[in-house]
């Protein structure tokens, strides 16, 4: 068999990722830019660094046109990779979608298949996963990470043999404590994975058929299969599934607020590995900071750490920006202060205004805080073409597109 590998990135669709609103109202979440690149670019970049991977298939249920121009751009940026998009017409679940496109995935007879969820932010240690795969003669390698306290219960929990790393038990979002080793949503499968999915489908069909409470005409057919609940859970004990535990950063990108820590983590990674792609540190640039070449930043503005400035953005004199994302063509006027926030496309932030979120550790998996008894996003978010007037303070607010803020606001969603 060849030593040729493929990768699949599961990108979801417009009816998913609603928690990323308001930023996903007019842009598909995988194309939202953190650390100067679309979310999905970061796994692509990691894939491109593994020579044995020749082809990437994006699977989702967005319209075909959505990724077309990005894919053309990536073709020049990653010349060693063939990148294509396959659209599911009905949501088949993560495993169902893979199975549906099995012919396309298996074309060219790849030996192994990486499967990556697009809403994961991590260092994507794909090479290390390949090594484990070879060494253990595995059928699947899962990327795992340890989390603190009861955060594990929000994720898929893995119990693995401490010496062999073989997966012994897997439960998705358990009610009680099982393990603090969780599933990162990055997998490496042998090409035989499709027979496993087939087995799981048959088992599910049988279960549904024998269950009198199930209406066969409703949506939960046996072809709707999720990787986590329907494959990893039932099969982990009986198959050669292993876990590779990463000590690097990892977090999910579910809510819009999680874009701020994701931006920070990817910037920190870039600062370690490719500092030349970032703004040069100076008295007014506290690294890491990404400034798009077409952005105009006044030399008296102080930026960083963990700041991304998008294309065409204009940053005025004496501005302070920290732990924030400023998107394309946004304007921050003089002496304004932007902390722990996202400033949307074409938004305008007035002079001496202050747009502020609440500091959260990048390792904190929650993106909400309770303020005055109300649960609010920890970051402040201005969507497309919002305007904050001079001297106004915006604190822990999410502002939907095209709104003008004329007076101080806090702990609100501005419709």
């Amino acid at each position: 068999m060849s030593n040729y590998n493929k990768a699949v990135i599961l990108v979801g669709g417009p009816s998913r990722g609603t928690r990323f609103r308001p930023l996903s109202l007019d842009l598909p979440k995988p194309l939202f830019e953190v650390a100067g690149h679309p979310l999905i670019w970061h796994p692509l970049c990691a894939i491109a660094k593994v020579p044995s991977i020749k082809e990437v298939i994006l699977i989702g249920y967005y319209d075909e046109t959505v990724f077309a121009s990005s894919i053309r751009q990536w073709a020049t940026e990653f010349p060693g990779l063939k990148i294509s998009y396959l659209r599911e017409y009905t949501a088949l679940g993560t495993a169902g979608g893979l199975y549906h496109f099995r012919d396309a995935i298996l074309k060219g007879n790849p030996k192994r298949i990486f499967v990556l969820n697009a809403d994961v932010c991590c260092s994507f240690p794909l090479r290390e996963m390949l090594e484990v795969f070879e060494e253990k003669e595995a059928e699947a390698v899962l990327l795992g990470t340890r989390v603190q306290g009861d955060a594990a219960q929000k994720f898929g929990c893995i119990v693995a043999d401490p010496t062999t790393s073989k997966v012994r038990h897997y439960v998705e979002k358990p009610e009680g404590h099982i393990s603090n080793l969780i599933n990162c949503g990055v997998y490496l499968f042998s090409s035989t994975v499709f027979s496993l999915i087939r087995t799981a489908m048959d088992a599910k069909a049988e279960r549904l058929a024998s269950d009198p409470t199930v209406d066969p005409t409703d949506g939960d057919s046996s072809s709707v299969l999720r990787l986590e609940q329907d494959i990893l859970g039932p099969l982990s004990d009986s198959r050669r599934f292993f876990v590779y535990e990463t000590r690097d950063f990892w977090r999910q990108i579910k809510t819009a607020g999680s874009a701020v820590p994701a931006n920070a983590l990817y910037l920190q990674k870039a600062f370690q590995n490719e500092p030349e792609t970032l703004a040069k540190p100076s008295a007014n640039i506290v690294p890491p900071v990404f400034i798009h070449p077409t952005a105009q930043v006044d030399p008296t503005a102080k930026l960083g750490p963990n700041v991304s400035i998008g294309p065409g953005a204009v940053i005025g004199a004496g501005v302070r920006i920290k732990e924030s994302i400023v998107l394309e063509d946004a304007e921050i006027k003089h002496d304004a202060c932007v902390l722990y926030s996202i400033i949307g496309w074409q938004s305008k932030v007035g002079a001496w205004s202050r747009v502020e979120g609440t500091p959260m550790a990048v390792t904190e998996h929650s993106t909400t805080v309770v303020k005055g008894g109300v649960k609010v996003q920890s970051v402040s978010i201005l969507s497309r073409e919002c305007k904050v007037n001079d001297e106004v303070r915006v604190w822990n607010c999410v502002c939907l597109p095209y709104k003008e803020l004329k007076r101080d606001v806090s702990n609100e969603v501005i419709m």
Partner: protein, 364 residues
């Protein structure tokens, strides 16, 4: 002529400022509060001033000695060993106030206005009775004690109505009086209230008149009113085209009513005003926005800070991109770190604030 200024106690309502300086020495419009009063009294021909206090800080004695020479007045401390209310201190100082037949002024030390002492003395002499109290018109008389005149008489007081529910008038006691020495005979040396005991007795005898105050009036005994009073004072300076105010032709002055000590330094691209006072040796950085605030001597406000409705206490430092608002009061030598937000913080001296104060709080 003679005058008594009711200073009273420790000025706890104006803490944290009064933890550092006695209230009469806290600068209002860049000058100690008491100096406004001493100057106005001296200008009206007063030569003897009694300060009624129930403690006697050394620092005050030194400062007032300077004023004695400067204004050619004699300033005496009358120290109460126990609080005597608002009338008892007059009796305690009876020797000075009653040394001749001329009437004497009485002032509450918290009151800021355009002191009308000369006109008040002339009016008092013209009606020939024992006392005259200055009254000011207010929008909401229901919060105060209201003065009601005798029918068909423009000035003789008929009665006082405390916190009236129904409208009976809009003139209230402004805390400034002129009284004949004979009034001292009406007061016993014990804790007693001039408003509740002495004046009603004088009214009964038809001996008390009122005098309408022109212009602004404010009791600046607490931070919120101190800021409001500052606005009123600066507006009155502007109305008089006072040379004290920084001219609006300065590029950083916004909306006028800005009073800056000549020794203060202002950075580039600032927007200052309306209603700002900046004390001696203050350094304001670049791109700073100040409005409706008092910056006391020796402070540093760093670049791009934004300060509104705040009293920045002596020698304090406000960090870059800090934002202070909603009646924040910094005591002496407080540091607010860069980028920090303070909403209604009352910060005691020598503290450093490194994290946001999101809801009004006292920082011990």
């Amino acid at each position: 002529m003679k005058a008594l200024i009711l200073v009273g106690g420790f000025g706890t309502r104006l803490r944290p400022l009064t933890l550092t300086l006695p209230k009469p020495l806290v600068e209002f419009g860049n000058r100690p509060m008491i100096l406004h009063q001493v100057e106005a009294l001296a200008a009206a021909g007063v030569t003897d001033i009694v300060l009624a206090v129930n403690y006697r800080p050394e620092v005050m004695i030194n400062v007032l000695q300077k004023y004695e020479e400067e204004y050619n007045v004699k300033i005496t401390f009358s120290v109460e060993t126990e609080p005597l209310g608002t009338a008892g201190p007059l009796k305690l100082a009876g020797e000075i106030l009653g040394k001749d037949d001329s009437p004497f002024f009485v002032l509450n030390s918290d009151v800021i206005c355009e002191y009308p002492f000369q006109a008040l003395a002339a009016f008092h002499k013209s009606h020939g009775q024992e006392g005259t109290i200055v009254v000011t018109k207010v929008d909401e008389p229901s919060k105060y004690g209201v003065v009601v005149h005798e029918p068909n008489h423009p000035s003789r007081i008929d009665r006082f109505v405390e916190k009236p529910v129904e409208f009976v008038g809009n003139r209230i006691n402004a805390g400034l009086y002129i009284l004949n020495p004979s009034v001292l005979n009406r007061i016993e040396l014990r804790p007693t209230s001039i408003e509740q005991e002495t004046f009603p007795a004088m009214v009964k005898d038809g001996q008390l008149h009122s005098f309408d105050l022109e212009g602004f009036w404010m009791d600046v005994g607490q931070p919120k009113d101190f800021l409001t009073g500052t606005c009123l004072y600066l507006s009155s300076l502007a109305k008089k085209n006072s040379k004290l105010l920084t001219p609006s032709t300065e590029p950083f002055v916004h909306g006028g009513n800005v009073l800056i000590d000549p020794s203060a330094k202002i950075g580039k691209n600032c927007r200052i005003g309306p209603n700002v006072t900046i004390g001696p040796n203050v350094v304001i950085g670049d791109g700073v926005r100040l409005q409706r605030c008092v910056v006391l001597a020796g402070c540093r406000v760093k670049d791009h800070a934004w300060v509104k409705s705040t009293i920045v206490g002596w020698n304090s430092t406000v960090g870059k991109w800090a934002r202070l608002e909603n009646v924040t009061v910094l005591g002496d030598d407080v540091t607010v770190a860069d980028e920090v937000y303070v909403n209604g913080g009352c910060v005691l001296p020598h503290k450093t604030i490194k994290a946001n104060i999101d809801i009004p709080a006292i920082i011990m």
